[in-house]
Symmetry: C2
Subunit: 235 residues, 2 copies
């Protein structure tokens, strides 16, 4: 095959972490994983080191590796930090993108659109991830990229939690997100930094609103008697 077993292990673990297939805080046992991927512990440990560097995984001495947790504190800083970094990266991407990168982005976006059409939740989230990762590469700023990538890791994981229960209203939002991606591609092609920032902030708002709606859903009726009555009437 084209990719080695180690390469596959790296990208597979990363995907499974992003897709919340392996939960935050979950223990990553070296012996089990190395057997599972058919490699010895030495290269597996290298993979874990790599993922630690990316921010997917945390390691403590003599106590192994865990999937990076997502506690309330980090979520708070996530919402605090994301718009600023996203916006700055967006402007730089418009200024510095190359033609090849733009082609790659179009490719990824068409994949994302296909996933949206097929309502494939995991592929949507992963495609979205790759889309924004590529915009990060376009920015060509080695100092901002690590922050962006860490934000994207948690953004994708949050999206998995929030988007899974695909209510009809949600699928409309997803299609809107896909349209925003298309608009971004136009802005990037025209190298319009200001427009790109605007679109990015709108994109963020859409995503944030959906997360908020999930965290704080419409409350149940306050009056329990009325609720019971309504249920009976509905029969």
């Amino acid at each position: 095959m084209d990719t080695s077993k180690k390469q596959y292990c790296l990208s597979d673990l990363r995907q499974r972490i992003l897709a919340m297939d392996i939960r935050p805080g979950a223990d990553l046992d070296e012996a089990r994983l190395s057997a599972q991927y058919g490699i010895s512990r030495t290269p597996l440990r290298e993979v874990l080191q790599r993922l630690t560097g990316e921010g997917c995984v945390t390691q403590t001495d003599n106590r192994g590796a865990k999937v990076a947790s997502m506690d309330l504190g980090t979520m708070r800083t996530f919402f605090q930090t994301a718009p600023s970094i996203y916006a700055n990266v967006a402007r730089l991407a418009a200024e510095n993108r190359t033609a090849e990168q733009l082609d790659a982005l179009k490719e990824v976006q068409s994949g994302f659109a296909r996933a949206v059409a097929a309502s494939a939740a995991a592929e949507m989230a992963l495609g979205n991830h790759r889309f924004h990762e590529l915009i990060g590469e376009m920015a060509a700023n080695a100092y901002l990229t690590p922050s962006l990538n860490r934000l994207l890791i948690d953004h994708t994981r949050l999206a998995q939690v929030f988007y899974r229960p695909a209510a009809p209203a949600e699928s409309i939002a997803v299609r809107k997100a896909s349209e925003q991606h298309d608009a971004m591609i136009v802005a990037l092609e025209a190298q319009e930094g200001g427009l790109m920032v605007e679109l990015t902030l709108e994109h963020w708002s859409l995503s944030r609103d959906r997360m908020e709606r999930f965290v704080r859903p419409d409350p149940l009726p306050a009056n329990v008697a009325d609720l019971a009555e309504a249920k009976i009437r509905a029969l």
Copy 2:
């Protein structure tokens, strides 16, 4: 000793890279280094992977590790990105610092002041590095910290290049920088975010001006004849 050989190897390599004792682009040979630090290649490779995650080192498959380079492009993005990240981190640090962190910072600053008094260039740069690293920890923002730390790596390395030729004017600037550190500690203690941002931008200006002065020194007289004449008169 308190720290294991591996731990020592990690921090020693990091220090030597920050101090430009090992130059950007230099090859990091596994066999040589493992022998040098008295550990086998396995833990040494782990150290290199760790440093790669931090951004000090770059690794390419089957071709070993090198010290992260500092080309013109990265320097450009450095000057572009640093003030914004520094300022944002500064405000967050003022808001979120704990008493323990403040004590640690005072400790580091007194070490820095001692190094300034002794004109110990490497210790100054390293102390300054630790000072700003601690401010990053105070900000308690897992998304911003990686960007800050990458900026600090290159800032410290640049400082090594620029500050080494210790002209009298430079030592005045260093003392001013130390005073700015003291002012920052006061601002952090009072949790005055706005003041902290102001001080940080001043601190940045001082540093940037010194770098600029190094890159673009006063030009020689344009008229070569005049220059020769002036030299003769000076005798």
